[in-house]
Structure formats: structure tokens, C-alpha cells
């Protein structure tokens, strides 16, 4: 293995483990068969994520970024290539990777509290303890007082807060977030970004956050992967040097604007001379 070679001689086993990236994708490729045609959703996606990093993956729709996240989550399998978490290959979903979707995907027949408690019960928690833990988690995401509401009674932002609480309840090592704020209105999205930053700073989880919103990717991320479409692949990998802790003030940081412009130029180049929409329209089966 490369990692063992890279470890300096005489280093203890412990150091070797902490040096190793938490997540490693190696040559991940994914193809679909649609209408007798083979569509390449991902081509040779390789990157490493160190423990505790907030990684944003930025790309247009159809660049395979969701597929990439599903493969990391173990919900879909790569056509070739591999995903390793702490050195072990990923083959199935697991509680070590907490997944969040664009829709809150709460169970509509359960109250908010019961939704958050459900994964704990699956894990064999006592009902009483699961309930208490669910309340704590809901307090963390600012949903105290809504324990007994049903998802249909909540706003979109509140539902995503509840989904975040449920995912945090898995006690994951990595949060996989698939455009979780994409369906929210602009103001709610900004507030949720600040809230997520706060929660992440307190937890020091590793996060992979998918978005097509440049400012969101830069504001949240320690690092941004820029992806191109057809086939989906990584076209840039940029460290974001904005001060931590970040908050509302970060959004007025001139460096944020610089990053925004830099990424826009990348995306524009990638899209080529024709309007970016026409490429999609030509190849997307509808």
C-alpha cells in the first residue's frame, strides 16, 4: 500500500493511522445504460479527504456529483475503481457515513422526535434513551418545541434541520450532504449555511457537501472540488483560505468574491462557447 510506504520509518502504528486520509477514492468510474446507450456518469474520480475536513463538491447538474456521493455512501456501486474509508473498502451503506438528501426524507407518519429516534431504535437503544437523545439532537439543530410536530407541519428549512438531527444521531464519521439546502428559499438557505458551519465547528466531523451554488461551496468548505459534466470528473481542487470560525461576516469577505470569480471562470471555460444549457438539453433524455 502507498500509505505504508509513505509513513516515515520508525513511525508508530498510531501515527501511520492518523496520517492516512480518512476517505480515499481511487479511479472511480460509473456508467449507466440508458436507451441502449452507455452514459458515463463519472470518469476517473480520485481524491483523498483528511479527517475533519469540510469538502465542498461544486458542479452543474448532470456532472455526477450525486452519484459520487451515493457511491461513497454505499447506496450505489462504482463500475470500476474503489472507495476506502479508514483503509477499508466501502461496499454497503453504514452508520459511519450519514447521508442527507436534497429533500428531508423524513417519515411523514412519524413525529419529528420519532423520526430522529428511529435510527437509534434500529441500533438497539432503549426507547426512553432514544427519546432523550432525540430531544438533545433536536435542541442542537434549534428545533426544541417541535418534537411532537409532524413533518408536514414544518417549513422546508425546519425539515432539513430535523433530517440533520436524525443523521447526527447515527454518530457518523462522515456527513454526506447532497444539496441539502438546494430546495430552500434564499434567506433560509443562508441561515442554514451559518447553522451548519456552527454545528460542524463544534463537532469536527468530516463533511462532503454537494452543491451547485458557488458561494455556498466557498463559504462552507475548507476545500472545493470543481466538477465538470459529461463525463463527470474533477476539473479543479482548491483549498479555501478563509478564516475560521466563519459566520455571517465571512459572506462580506472580499476573498469570497475572488473565489467566486475564479470558480465562475472555470465553469465558464468548461461549458465552452455555447450557452451552458444547450449541452444539457442535447443529451439529457427527457
Amino acid at each position: 500500500m502507498l500509505s505504508s510506504n509513505a509513513a516515515p520509518s520508525g513511525a508508530t502504528t498510531m501515527e501511520a493511522i492518523t496520517d492516512q486520509p480518512q476517505l480515499r477514492l481511487t479511479g472511480v468510474r460509473k456508467t449507466f445504460h440508458r436507451d441502449r446507450k452507455t452514459v458515463e456518469a463519472l470518469r476517473d474520480v480520485s481524491f483523498e479527504v483528511p479527517r475533519g475536513q469540510f469538502l465542498s463538491a461544486l458542479g452543474p447538474s448532470g456532472c455526477g456529483k450525486s452519484t459520487m456521493l451515493h457511491i461513497i455512501g454505499g447506496f450505489e456501486t462504482a463500475t470500476s475503481g474503489s472507495v476506502h474509508l479508514d483503509g477499508k473498502p466501502v461496499t454497503a451503506p453504514g452508520r459511519d457515513r450519514g447521508m442527507m438528501f436534497q429533500q428531508a426524507t423524513l417519515f411523514p407518519w412519524k413525529t419529528v422526535q420519532a423520526n430522529v429516534a428511529w435510527p437509534l431504535l434500529v441500533d438497539g437503544w432503549k426507547r426512553k434513551h432514544a427519546r432523550e437523545r432525540a430531544r438533545e439532537l433536536l435542541a442542537t439543530v434549534g428545533l426544541s418545541g417541535f418534537e411532537h410536530s409532524y413533518p408536514a407541519e414544518l417549513s422546508g428549512g425546519m425539515r432539513q434541520r430535523a433530517a440533520l438531527a436524525r443523521t447526527l444521531g447515527l454518530a457518523p464519521d462522515i456527513l454526506l450532504m447532497d444539496e441539502p439546502f438546494g430546495a430552500l428559499d434564499a434567506q433560509t438557505r443562508e441561515l442554514m449555511q451559518e447553522e451548519l458551519t456552527r454545528i460542524w465547528q463544534e463537532s469536527q466531523l468530516t463533511v462532503i457537501f454537494i452543491t451547485h451554488d458557488i458561494n455556498e461551496a466557498v463559504f462552507l468548505g475548507d476545500r472545493v472540488l470543481v466538477m465538470g459534466a459529461r463525463p463527470g470528473r474533477i476539473i479543479a481542487d482548491v483549498e479555501i483560505e478563509l478564516d475560521r470560525p466563519r459566520g455571517a461576516h465571512t459572506k462580506r469577505d472580499p476573498k469570497l468574491v475572488e473565489y467566486h470569480n475564479e470558480f465562475w471562470d472555470l465553469i465558464r471555460q468548461e461549458a465552452g462557447p455555447q450557452p451552458s444549457g444547450s449541452r444539457d438539453a442535447g443529451e439529457t433524455p427527457s
Binding site: 426524507t105 428511529w118 410536530s149
Partner: protein
Amino acid sequence: MTATLTPESRVGRREWAEWMLDRRWPVATAVVLVLLAAWQTYGVIAGLPEYILTPFEIAGSVTELLASGRLVELSSASLGRLTAGFLLGTTSGVLIGLLSGVSRWFGDIVDGAVGFTYPIPKITLLPILAIWLGFTDSTRILVIAIAVFFPAYINANAATRGVDQELVWVAKNAGAGTLRTVLQVVLPAALPRTVAGIRQSLALSFIFMFATEAIGSSTGADAGLGGEMFAARANGEYDVLWAALATVAVLGGTIDAGFRWLVGRLMRGQELEVTGRG
């Protein structure tokens, strides 16, 4: 009023607003009353043919039949058949539908058989089954059961197949096994559409109750409302005919309303998917 937005006041206010919007029933009731009044007035002033009774005459006839015990006798005979056929048909329809939605293998086998039999008008089974079982309650119950099987099956099956993939992923992410995922996620998620199918079956069971009683029925206590209506028509007893019709309408409306009330209680948080009014 204070401007604080506690969860309680928020939900309370929303429910109040919904309650206000939902008060359409006084208007709906008024429309029905106006129509009945017009019918009654026209009947009194202009006169109606002998075979059409006014609302008051129908009410009188219902009261008379109720007092004699005949209406209860007919209704219980009808409702007995309806209940047996409905339960038999919907239970098997829902169970097979859910199962074939969960298991692709089972589903593909059953779907073929259902697709083949679905277009057959179910009432045509009545004479065929009557050859075998005679014009008995067994025949009637079986025809009702077969007829109501289809909406129950089709909706339960589609509901299970249509469950959001991401809900299943949430369960897998939590480490839930297949059985737990099916019982605690797929089936509850499939419930609204399944229940909508059961409601269609319920409506259909009334139609088939009437249709099966209309043919080869006795005129005794077990004639049922359908049998009695046909006998009354033949004998020119239009008051009995109308009283039975009114009873079918009231029973159907009441049972459907009761069903919707029960579903509303049992399925908080989930909307009932219904075509038409829900």
C-alpha cells in the same frame, strides 16, 4: 396578543385557519336543501309522475318501513353480504398487492394473472358462479369479493412500488435489515395510496351488492335492498323502491364518511391520496 411565536400558537393558528377554510359544508348543505325544496315544491304544485315521489313522501315511506322492521331486515341482509365480500376481496387484494410490490419475483407472476383478468366485467361472473353455487349468498359474496379485489390490489401494488428510493436509503443508512425496512418504512409509506384503493373498493362493494341482489333474488327477509327494489318496481310499490334507494344512499354516504374519519385519525401526518374529494 403577543407577537411571540411559540410552537403551540403557531400550530394553533394554522389549525384555526384551516378550520375556517374547511367550513364549506354549510354551503354544501344549503345547496342540497334548496334542491330538495325545489323538488318538493315542484311535486306539490305541478305534480310528478306516479313513479316519482316527493322528498316528504320518501321520508314517510322510510319511516313506515323502519317502524315495520322491514328496512332493518333488508339492510342487514345487504350489509352482511357487502361486509363479507368487501373484507374478503380487499384483504386478499391488499395483501397480495403489498407482497407483489415488495417482491419483484412474486409481483411479476401475479401481475400477469391480474392483467389478464382485470378487463373482464366482474358482473359476468355472476351467472357463471351461479351455475356452480346457485343464486346463493356465497355466489354474491364471491362476486363482490372478486370485483373489489382489483382496486385494492392495483393500488397497494403501485403504492409499494412507488415508495421513494431515498426513504429506503435512510433505513439502510441506519443499518435496518430488509424485514424491518419493509415493515417500518415501505409499508407505512405505501399506506396512503393503499387506503385510497380500499376506499375505491368500498364504493365498488355497494355497486356490486346492489347488482348481485338484483338477479335471482328471493323476496323474503334476505332479499336485501337491491332485491327489494326490483321486486317493488315489478309490483308498482314505488314508495318501497324510493325508500330502499334512499337507504342505500344514506348507508353508502355514512360508511364512506366513517371510513374517511377513521383514516384521518389513524394516518396523522400523511395525506390521503384520493381522486375526487378526500
